[in-house]
């Protein structure tokens, strides 16, 4: 992984406050856990039926019955609990998730999220994404700032099928930390070595810049 991505993930880890219940989506969000101290008080939730996710185990130490929603062989910690899929999403929909971190294909200036379908190219199904995006108390996105072709993922409006409307509060990218505000995207921090102007150029919507140079990560 690039150094910029690594710093993005480390920065996103600081979004997790002590005592939170957190669901980390498949992909880059899952890696956030590597940046939490071993005694950090947090409860990680995986939608296939576990609170209190412990470290990922190598195959030779894996429990064949213990995976996370991405299929990784994880472990438990003291105080873990198992439950069925209905109970798992009861937690999500009833507001017991303080935070979820998700990946994205597109995020719009009003916080719409598209991350599950590219018509004609990619449609594996929505899984648990809609409920996480719509119902976690705070939804943040981890994504590269642009796609492989260099096209911005932060747009005035999403062009792909939505996962949920107006759900995203903050986006962590390999260039910046950007909040969704009532007036649209607002630059909060930049990656060290990236200027606010570079971030604005890579964003397909107006970007509100802070008056002073923003902090870096």
């Amino acid at each position: 992984m690039s150094s910029a991505k690594n710093r993005m993930i480390a920065r996103a880890a600081r979004e997790i406050a002590p005592g939170m219940v957190v669901n980390l989506g498949i992909g880059m969000p899952t890696k956030v856990v590597n940046h939490l101290a071993s005694d950090f008080p947090v409860c990680l939730h995986t939608e296939n039926g576990l609170t209190g996710i412990g470290p990922v185990l190598p195959p030779e130490r894996a429990d064949r019955n213990l995976i996370d929603a991405g299929g990784a062989y994880v472990s438990t910690i003291p105080g873990s609990a198992f439950f069925d899929s209905a109970t798992s999403f009861a937690m999500v929909r009833s507001g017991r998730l303080d935070l979820t971190m998700l990946g994205a294909f597109e995020v719009s200036a009003n916080g719409d999220l598209a991350n599950w379908k590219i018509p004609g190219k990619f449609s594996p199904g929505v899984g648990g994404g809609i409920e996480l995006a719509q119902k976690a108390r705070r939804v943040v996105v981890l994504t590269t700032h642009t796609d492989r072709a260099g096209a911005p993922k932060l747009k005035q409006q999403c062009t792909l099928p939505l996962t949920a409307c107006g759900c995203v509060a903050r986006v962590f990218t390999d260039m910046a930390v950007i909040d969704i505000t009532e007036r649209g995207f607002a630059l909060i921090e930049t990656l060290e070595g990236i200027s606010p102007g570079e971030v604005a150029n890579a964003t397909d919507a107006p970007l509100i810049l802070p008056e002073a140079p923003p902090p870096t990560f």
């Binding site: 002590p18 003291p78 009833s94 017991r96």
Partner: protein
């Protein structure tokens, strides 16, 4: 990662309850009724409460203390047959009572605890319990809309707990407790025993700790919990 500790003092947890709050209380008869939390709510004195509970216990027991103390204005329940005092209050108009079919009350609470807005059911169609309810047609048949129930606070009795608030119930003391423990903004649980983190097996947890906000260990078990002599 380690899991947060939710142990607290009962009076401090109960102190967050305000006049006019809706309070769910677990239990079916004595088993599963959080007798100690109820006594603390009596001592606290919050008034104009809406209580959601399967039954009103028996005269001089459990939730009846709240009724006698004049703290309850409304009761959402299924059956008051063992509490003639509660029936008297209802008949005198001192408390408003809403009767639900027992399993529908359970489903409405579970829906509230599951972020579901309502369930559609044919239970009670053709009876007076259907009166005044919104009706939705599905496949040409009428169904009653049973709206989800949520509360400001839920009072829960568990047999065992760990400091994160994972709970396990015993025998028929389970009843409405796991449902109500999902359905309130603030869930306060009393447990007969609190074991160290990890001592409650992850497969044996009945209510996951993420649903629980405050946990109190019962230092001793009062006579309120004893076998009822009839």
């Amino acid at each position: 990662m380690k899991l947060p500790d939710k142990r607290c003092r009962i009076d401090q947890a109960i102190a967050t309850i305000r006049d006019g709050d809706t309070v769910m209380i677990g239990g079916f008869g004595v088993p599963g009724t959080p007798m100690t939390l109820i006594r603390a709510l009596v001592a606290h004195g919050a008034r104009d409460l809406t209580i959601i509970k399967n039954d009103a216990n028996e005269p001089g027991m459990g939730v009846d203390h709240l009724l006698r103390n004049g703290q309850v204005s409304r009761l959402i329940t299924t059956h008051l047959g063992l509490n003639s005092h509660a029936i008297g209050l209802m008949n005198a108009g001192d408390i408003r009572v809403e009767f639900n079919a027992q399993g529908i009350l359970a489903e409405r609470i579970r829906a509230g605890g599951s972020g579901i807005c309502a369930v559609l059911s044919d239970i009670g169609i053709g009876t007076e319990l259907a009166q005044g309810k919104q009706v939705v047609e599905m496949a040409g048949k009428p169904h009653l809309v049973e709206p989800a129930l949520r509360a400001d606070v839920a009072l829960i009795h568990a047999d065992r707990a760990d400091p994160f608030g994972n709970l396990a119930y015993v025998a028929t003391a389970r009843n409405f407790n796991p449902l109500m423990a999902m359905a309130a903004r603030c869930v306060i649980a009393e447990a007969e025993t609190v074991v160290p983190l990890g001592a409650l097996a992850a497969d044996a947890v009945h209510t996951a700790g993420v649903f629980v906000d405050h946990l109190a260990e019962l230092k001793e078990l009062s006579g309120d919990y004893a076998v009822v002599q009839r």
